[in-house]
Amino acid sequence: MAPVRARSRPYLRVPCTILYRCGMALVFMACRDDPAAKTTNNEATPVESVPTDAPMALTPTERNNTIRDLFGFPSNASDWPDPPDIAERFSSPADSLGGVFSPAVQPPVWPVELPAEAGVHGFDGMLDGQEPTAYGVEAWQQATLHFAPYALVSSAFWSCDDPSDLSDTDREACAWNSIQRFASRAWRRPIDDEERERLDALWQSQRAVGNIEEAIVISVSAILLSPRFTHRIEAGKSDSDTGTHRTLTALELASRLSYALWDTMPDSELFRAADSGELETEAQVRAQVRRMLADDRARETTARFHHAWLGTDAVLTISPSREAHAARFGLSPVPTSSAADCDLEWPGVVGPLRHALYADLSLTVIDRIFEGPGTFTELLTTDVGYRASVSEPVFGDVTVDEEAETVSWPYTYVFASSPAAGVHRMERVRHTGTERAGILSSPAVMAVGAYPVHPGPIPRGVNILERVLCMDLGLPPEGAEGALPPDLTDVESTNRSRTEQATASATCAACHDRINPLGFAFESYDALGAWRDTDNGLPVDTSVEVRLDGTLIPIDGAAALGAAIASSDEARRCYALHTVRTATGIDWDAFDPRITPVLDAFQSNDHIPTLIEDIAVSHIFRTLEVAEVSP
């Protein structure tokens, strides 16, 4: 399992996202994305049409994964075969990265770096977040030139054994057959006659001016540049047209399933099921989903989903204050070398720590969904975690699960201008007592909701409201950031009292009465997510009243809050809503009756694998909304 890199940096360092435009938020809270409101007011909610006439583009992760699987290469790029000599002709050997402060860095042959999508609600793979850009198109075109030569050394590409041993005529025939087969696999369905003619025209034109290898490289590049690779093209079964919808073909459904569950193309079994009519009934689809969920690829996709949901990709770029936190790791608050020199101690802790916190959340989610009860409640109340040696000071007292195997988690980071690599040995642990319960209080979530010195009750509260309860808070008012309490080590009161004071005005209170209590419940966790009983010498106060499902509930501490959220209808519906959105790529309104059955079911059964099955067999997943085609 490869760690995923961060791209966003919410809440940290840029305080403009901290205080919220209260009046606007109240409006949204009352009438927009509140799943709980939906349960009591279905009929009054207008339903907007969802444009499904645009094909979904493959995300950067999906493109890389699909290339890997097309060539049949492993996920460890160092195990890829060397590229053939022809690859050199597309790259400039003089291009370099490095310098006096930085040793030369050669990017891995896979995955290639592709621009991140704009995304929607923090998720990529969303139709509304996929506008083509010049940079994105160029990056992909360059990627196709990078990958295309690998076809020559891929046994999955060639349709014949040992092509180098064949006569020129036989090799030519094999190459052309291989191109056709490759196109069918890359486009996830058999090519039709017209497509074959166009491919043949390209092939013949390339053979007319170059050798077989050159023609293969250009043809493979064209296949990978084609919208039939870069997009999921869906037309549906023409005989199923109802005027508004068509049922997806079996192969189209296979692609939807594989990209939703695995972030890659269908495997041979899924293709076989689609080809042999075994992807038609609800039972058949459910059986395939269960098979796919048992595959490691589903675990990677699931971990990625939860990081996007909770915004914890940003834990890879947290920048905690040495002065405030170094003592916990046995370091002095200030560097031991000259103040003007570079600090070479703290980055050596923070770099690996970021990855350890990221790995903890990934492994905990995977553990509880695939090895545990698989419920939303379990996710939000579990005492399971995964600890690396560097994160021991953050985790505090835990019980190590001696029967569980440690998990290796390789990571890289930049240390003193040089690439550094390591492997975390992640121990499965149980948090003792009630110090930590559920992923909402995991160190990664806590550290993302914090400033360099102090925890951030406002970003933590906003995180719960927007990501876990699906409330749209809008933007903070102009200048609100100026009211933020300074994030200093030398303070005279508690973090909670400073935050209350900063948001006490009537203008702010309308929103912050809702935001702050959710954040204050986590005040027992410092800016790195470590437990604390006191703040500035005073007892930490985590007693709050929070509104869930329309009811004001007294809560004391994060464990109690996690349990309350786990059983809340609006939280479960919100989680299901995010899952439906990312599975379909459509930014569904929470009140849309087309997704209501799925949300209703999850609200009652609480079971995440069942939620994924229910989505896969739902009408919205198995059908295509027919677009009005221009004449």
Binding site: R5, A6, R7, P15, C16, D53, A54, P55, R89, S92, A94, D95, S96, L97, G98, G99, V100, F101, S102, V105, P107, E113, A116, P132, T133, Y135, A139, L202, S205, V209, G210, I218, S221, L225, S226, P227, R228, T230, I233, T317, R322, A339, A340, D341, C342, P347, V350, R354, T412, S417, Y451, P452, E481, L484, P485, P486, D487, L488, A627, E628
Partner: protein
């Protein structure tokens, strides 16, 4: 620091005199604007760089008219640029404040990223990254010719170096550089001189993909069709660029030279290519990263053979090392002056000289060579369509943001006040190049003393 006579002072706060501006405005023409970004290592030696009129202190805001300032009054660091005084805008009063607030990496890496992107660094992977594009890439995205290179990234390497990128893509990735004149020549003129037929044939793959997009788009509704059409346009633009570079007809093609061994010679060879690239409109945005000078090139070989740790870190402890780094900087100033000579002497096909339509931004990753971010002293050259040139601007360091310094400057190793966020210079540059932006990178941030610092908007008084 060089004390100056009052007659050189243009506009002053704190009781200093006000005089009329001298503005060297380019003649209005249809000539394209160009951006050249130059980045050297180790910052400045402020004491041999700064200009101070008589009686003015670091606490006084003021402007100087460089066009009337006698050569004898120029500081040693700036003196090589005296002959280009009418084109200069020297900036004194900025600090890389956000780099001070950032964590991770080391101060050089953070400095490079903040200096040119204005944004936070990301050290979580195997290579240093930014969190947004550098200023040259922002400008290139706005002004690039579709049939030419959007931008060109170059470096002149120091001993043992293999290229030090200072440009960052929108994804945050460092952009690789052509680090020899040969590589730069190939990038610029290779396709048009001896194209590899296979490289040109990537157009066939693009054409095939565009055809598929057209066929498929016609079967979709308006939304889907618009999206695929957009992708097809971008791909067609790529093909146009490949064809444009292959069909290039340029009257000024420098001879392809073997990479010279001397840093100065490599710098001059790169300068020739930069002038040719602009004159042929091969690209409108270039970044030039200057690696570490060999010690012999600035008289430092008697101190150490390693600039970074042998000399640069000793500027506050050893006067000889301070002098050596001052000479290091002056050597760069002389190089930049020669490059500006070339831009001023090369006719622009649209009229005037290349310099008339070029903005040169010369900066670094540090304020001083002992890892300080304060007293960041960049220079703008050209850009006369947007800036009042021939000026030296000083703004006091009054921003309430603590800045790390050497203990010889302050026993606590920290001073409470920093200069203006350098992002304001990036905004001024962006607006000069036609971008409608009010911030580049970070718009505002909280300093380590808890103050909210506004990094948006332009520098006052440049236009």
């Amino acid at each position: 620091m060089k004390p100056l006579s009052r007659r050189s002072v243009l506009q002053a706060g704190a009781g200093l005199a006000l005089a009329g501006p001298r503005v060297a405005r380019a003649q209005s023409s249809g000539a394209p604007k160009r951006l050249l970004l130059i980045s050297h290592c180790h910052g400045w030696n402020a004491e041999t760089w700064k200009l101070r009129p008589d009686g003015a202190t670091d606490s006084d805001p003021f402007q100087l008219d460089l066009t009337t300032l006698p050569e004898a009054d120029w500081s040693a660091g700036l003196a090589p640029l005296y002959r280009h005084r009418q084109h200069l805008v020297a900036l004194d009063g900025l600090t890389l404040l956000t780099a001070e607030s950032d964590g991770g990496g080391n101060r050089h890496d953070r400095g490079f990223i903040h200096a040119w992107t204005g944004n936070w660094a990301d050290f979580s992977g195997s290579d240093s990254r930014s969190t947004s594009a550098s200023i040259d890439q922002l400008v290139a995205a706005a002004i690039a010719r579709p049939d030419r290179l959007p931008s060109l990234e170059l470096s002149v390497d120091g001993p043992g170096e293999v290229g030090r990128p200072v440009s960052y893509a929108a994804s945050g990735a460092r952009l690789p550089v052509a680090n020899t004149p040969e590589a730069a020549w190939t990038r610029l003129f290779g396709l048009s001189s001896s194209p590899d037929p296979l490289v040109l044939r990537q157009q066939d793959a693009i054409a095939a993909a565009v055809n598929e997009l057209d066929i498929l788009g016609a079967r979709l509704g308006a939304h889907g069709q618009a999206r695929l059409n957009s992708e097809a346009r971008h791909l067609t633009g790529l093909s146009t660029r490949i064809a444009g570079l292959a069909d290039l007809s340029c009257p000024i093609v420098p001879e392809r030279v073997a990479t010279p061994s001397a840093f100065d010679d490599r710098f001059d060879a790169m300068s020739d290519l930069i002038a040719a690239a602009f004159a042929c409109d091969l690209t409108r945005v270039i970044s030039l990263s200057l690696g570490e000078l060999p010690t012999a090139d600035f008289g430092g070989e008697t101190i150490a053979d390693d600039v970074h740790k042998g000399i640069a870190h000793g500027v506050f402890d050893d006067p000889a090392k301070g002098t050596a780094m001052a000479n290091y900087l002056t050597t760069h100033t002389a190089q930049v002056a020669r490059l500006v000579d070339l831009l001023a002497a090369t006719p622009d096909p649209a009229g005037g000289s290349l310099l008339d339509h070029t903005l040169v931004v010369w900066g670094s990753e540090l304020g001083n060579s002992w890892h300080g971010y304060q007293h960041y002293l960049p220079v703008l050259i050209g850009g006369s369509w947007a800036f009042q040139t021939g000026r030296y601007h000083h703004w006091p360091h009054t921003t309430p943001a603590p800045v790390t310094v050497h203990p010889s400057i302050h026993p606590d190793g920290e001073v409470p006040l920093g200069g203006l966020p350098h992002q304001k210079m990036l905004v001024s540059v962006a607006q000069a190049m036609g971008l409608s932006v009010d911030h580049v990178g970070i718009p505002h941030f909280q300093s380590r003393s808890g103050n909210l610092i506004d990094a948006s908007g332009t520098l006052n008084g440049l236009t």
